[in-house]
Symmetry: none
Subunit: 419 residues, 2 copies
């Protein structure tokens, strides 16, 4: 398969803290977004320790296969800042001091009434053939190198220095390839990844198209992407989108950036209906997800987090006998919770979740991951569903929240508009 | 500085979606934590596209310099799953079908009353000399390969499959090198990053110590780490931890892995007290966070998501006149919500949040980010707090949830044990 080799980019983020301490790398998010907009495909993102060999190896690999190599971090004054030396080693050239960089560094120290130390002197060095990039908000200069269609930039990793130098000094030097490749995305509920894949098998043969099928907590995601940035690839994406809609039909609940909570909200708004929730094991996750959508107060009235049995009885009027006979994690209680939420908050719909999220609390009859959903609606018989989920406590909570939303969505979609 | 070459690990996360679509890689967080605990240093984390050459190049590099190579993703049944082929290419051996893997896959399909397709057949393949790892929660088997002190594992990327297979099948095969380098972590509330940094400036000069100060949504995090894995470095970390405690005192709310919701829960448990919440703009986030802690039902009774004014009035008995006079986002309403939650759910404490999360709904008097917290407690005058937060809707919701928990914690800490 041919890829457009001239539009490949590679990102190298330097810093032990992102590997040993779990610090988040946020600089790469900015790069991914900006590079996509000018038509570059990021083929690899590496987070590496500040060790000369590892770092120069990463730079060498990137230079060998991508047109654009972008490095963040490792340019500071301390001895564990080895990006300058690593680039020189990868390019096979010596480091030399850049007089203009040295002037800027001295000015930066002068303005603060301080003297540059030996570390600052090292910061003025660039590999032979490269140029130094001025840092308007810190002491560390960046590096820019270019040769025969290959480009490399190194930018200090401190987020505000990084963002400013990338935007003002590096991005303008990178030739814009195109407006970015065409994209189409779909989310599908209630099917397995391999079933979805088998339905779409024809798409894999189409030459201008990249197809990705992913299993997420919520749904199976399908992403279509043009392999080039021209009109033919865009047309291939559009044709493939039509094909996906035909092959998967009503299993598709969202397209593009839409989320499950958004499409549930859109259907409720169209139908002029309102919703309330009752949550036990999810402790508020379902309400939190529904209210992530701006404007959700139009249809979402509220909810009751019925964590204790007493709250289930007193605030949601679940009969004590039902709790005693079936236990809090049961279909009758799920139905009673849904009805209680609907009645207490005077809504069209009441949606409830009760289950064993674990890691403790499971029994042979009701193991960890056993969850019941309840749904009560005006003029509709209250129903319940049983789920058996696997994973950690957090995952079980997320998955049953998603299952509840998907169930409600499938029922809302069937109905009409405002009465 | 000498590094222990036998304790190096390298992580390769496969998936175009993490590069082109901005999806978050969470599997590597689990690996970083577990590997640190058994003494492995992660020297590189690469996120790569599902392209055979890029992927096999990454595997080859990792094998050449690290003892342990861990790969997540690219093992599915679809044609863009190329991890099996890439490992075989990097090892220079052919792929062959593993009969036991094929049996497991067929069983998995049988149990679901379905027929395995050609993609499933491909999933039974492993590179010659490698073994297949059973997947108890999905159809894709993993891969384990070991030779002369070099180890490699490939695990399906779906988070719940990944977590389970890593913990149960890969981690037990990896020899434990050491207890890892000494670590100490602290979380601090109510102070700025630069203030914390200025209080700890002395630590930066200590030769055996790595110090990282990070600003998070919840808190400022301080991480201390020994630069070596010997006893002198461990002693330096211990001394620095004592210094941090002395310099920051009561601003420290958590040490090690503790979260804010855990320390709040611990204090409630110690005091034998119970908590209920009332949430408006956070829509359930506060309850969801409190119940992330296993066993939180000991002290958390439940909550009311009072998204509409009617729910505030009817379920929490906020007087209609108060809502009319002050508006739903106001100190009197925050106090009334806290009292309503406490009274309705018969708890020792009622904690409430009401605010403007945005992006719409702000006014000159109550701009986006204006949030009021309310706290009601037995034998204590009900109080409120005003916040003005910045950021996106999601960030404002997270930050006011954290502020509410931190406020409650600071008050709980002052009091005693069980009455």
């Amino acid at each position: 398969m041919m890829r457009n080799q001239s539009a490949r980019a590679e990102l190298i983020m330097v810093g032990t803290e992102m590997l040993a301490l779990g610090a988040r790398d946020t600089n790469s998010d900015i790069l991914k977004k900006d590079l996509a907009a000018i038509g570059y495909e990021v083929v690899a993102l590496s987070v590496v320790v500040d060790e000369l060999e590892v770092l120069s190896g990463a730079v060498r690999t990137a230079l060998s296969r991508s047109q654009l190599t972008l490095i963040s971090g490792g340019l500071g004054p301390t001895r564990d800042d080895r990006t300058r030396a690593a680039i020189a080693a990868a390019l096979g050239v010596p480091l030399r001091s850049d007089p203009s960089a040295w002037r800027s560094i001295r000015r930066w120290y002068d303005e603060r009434g301080r003297k540059p130390g030996p570390g600052a002197r090292r910061q003025s060095q660039v590999p032979r053939g490269a140029e130094s990039l001025d840092n308007p908000v810190g002491s560390a200069p960046g590096i820019w190198w270019q040769r025969r269609g290959s480009m490399l930039a190194a930018i200090p990793g401190v987020p505000w220095e990084f963002e400013r130098m990338w935007t003002e000094q590096v991005l303008p030097r990178v030739p814009k390839i195109a407006a970015g490749s065409a994209l189409a995305s779909f989310r599908v509920g209630g099917l397995t990844e391999s079933y979805v894949d088998s339905r779409l098998v024809d798409l894999y043969r189409r030459p201008l198209l990249d197809v990705t099928v992913l299993a997420k907590t919520d749904a199976i995601e399908i992403h279509l992407r043009g392999k080039k940035t021209d009109r033919r690839a865009a047309a291939a994406v559009m044709r493939a989108a039509v094909y996906v809609r035909r092959r998967l039909g009503r299993a598709i609940f969202a397209e593009g950036e839409e989320t499950l909570e958004q499409v549930v909200g859109d259907r409720l708004r169209e139908r002029c209906e309102t919703l309330a929730v009752a949550e036990s094991c999810t402790g508020g996750e379902l309400g939190a997800r529904l209210t992530r959508v701006p404007g959700s107060s139009e249809y979402f009235q509220g909810g009751i987090i019925a964590y204790s049995d007493e709250v289930k009885r007193r605030l949601l009027q679940v009969p004590a006998a039902t709790l005693r006979r079936h236990g809090a994690v049961s279909e009758p209680v799920a139905r009673a919770l849904a009805e209680g939420a609907r009645r207490r908050m005077k809504c069209d719909w009441g949606l409830a979740i009760t289950g064993v999220a674990g890691p403790g609390g499971g029994t042979a009859a009701k193991p960890v991951g056993r969850v019941f959903l309840g749904l009560a609606g005006t003029g509709r018989r209250t129903s319940s569903r049983r789920l058996q989920l696997s994973g950690s406590r957090e995952l079980i909570r997320q998955r049953c929240t998603a299952a509840a939303l998907l169930w409600l969505y499938s029922i809302l979609r069937a109905g009409g508009r405002c009465r």
